[in-house]
């Protein structure tokens, strides 16, 4: 009986700790990881340089090309941003204000300015980096369409490749 209890406890503890972190973030707060890849690229381009959110000294930390890399063997200028780095960025943006993010997404992306990341990006709230996303520009459409669970990948691509404002 004692042995059975011990084995059961071990299994229970193992099962509780063995969940893949990816499973818990794929739908965190209703945010869609599958649609996040182009958004990550836009955020890296607009916000993730080594002297801004590509540093470890920011609460909102982005990793990938143009900024800090997760893999010690990689450089800021290459190779391309990895899936692990996109996962990291996904968790980073969710982690800023998870409750508000959940609400915004649940309401179809309505009033995205409730999120600090949107306000700071648009420059409507004090932001050391100033305005990095213009209201209604491709980067704004990219981010807000993702919050509405219908990411505009074309806008993200343009915001990632076009000359910075």
């Amino acid at each position: 009986m004692k042995r059975f209890l011990l084995v059961s406890m071990s299994i229970a503890i193992f099962a509780a700790c063995a969940g893949s972190p990816k499973q818990s973030t794929d739908s965190a707060g209703g945010a869609d990881r599958a649609q996040f890849t182009p958004v990550s690229g836009m955020l890296l381009r607009r916000c993730g340089s080594l002297d801004c959110h590509g540093r470890i000294y920011r609460n909102f930390r982005l990793v990938g090309v143009g900024g800090r890399r997760l893999d010690d063997k990689y450089y800021p200028d290459g190779p391309a941003t990895t899936e692990d780095e996109i996962d990291h960025n996904f968790q980073a943006i969710l982690g800023i204000e998870p409750e508000i993010m959940r609400t915004v997404i649940a309401e179809g992306g309505a009033n995205p300015q409730r999120l600090t990341v949107v306000r700071k990006g648009r420059g409507s709230e004090d932001h050391k980096g100033g305005q990095r996303i213009g209201l209604g520009d491709d980067a704004d459409i990219c981010l807000t369409s993702w919050l509405a669970s219908d990411v505009d990948s074309d806008a993200c691509a343009r915001a990632t490749t076009q000359r910075l404002p």
């Binding site: 381009r45 340089s49 080594l50 002297d51 801004c52 470890i56 143009g66 800090r68 890399r69 997760l70 893999d71 010690d72 063997k73 990689y74 450089y75 800021p76 200028d77 050391k128 980096g129 100033g130 910075l164």
Partner: protein, 162 residues
């Protein structure tokens, strides 16, 4: 009387220590001593982040707004003398400055205090290179560009890849 002296001494110590920024002090210490035979001045500490000391928190003076070191190639440490560095700020205002014999260049903040973000390009004898990303907050090039680079630093500022 002695008690008053203690109070003044205590207040002095408290005020003094409150002015010390330990993070900045650590950054300055991490630079290490001057290289042997290189005096403080325009050619010292090539490749190091100039604004750590010349960014306003000391101990260096004058204060710079933009400064760095330029190399010929990404892959080695030969300095690029005589290159023109063009810095354009967010308002479209720009300045050009030439690199010296160790590749160093600088703009003193008293002469120009640009509005970030900055765009930076480099030219030398008909060859050009333009930085792909903006300089968003730190005018010390070697703050981000360091040596051969690693996962947290871009390689040195260079004209040619090879």
């Amino acid at each position: 009387m002695r008690a008053i002296g203690f109070v003044f001494l205590g207040a002095f110590v408290a005020l003094s220590s409150s002015c010390i920024d330990p993070v900045h002090s650590d950054d300055v210490d991490a630079l290490g001593p001057e290289a042997p035979g290189v005096p403080e001045g325009l050619t010292h500490r090539a490749g190091q982040p100039c604004l750590t000391c010349h960014g306003g928190l000391g101990p260096g003076s004058p204060r710079f707004s933009v400064a760095g070191t330029v190399y010929l190639k990404r892959t080695d440490t030969a300095a690029l003398q005589g290159a023109t560095v063009v810095i354009t700020d967010a308002d479209g205002d720009s300045r050009s400055v030439e690199t010296n014999e160790v590749g160093n260049f600088r703009i003193e903040r008293d002469t120009w205090n640009p509005i970030f973000p900055l765009r930076i390009s480099l030219s030398y004898q008909g060859e050009d290179a333009t930085m792909k990303t903006l300089v968003n907050g730190n005018g010390g090039c070697n703050f981000c560009h360091r040596g051969d680079g690693d996962s947290t630093h871009s390689p040195r500022v260079y004209l040619r890849t090879k």
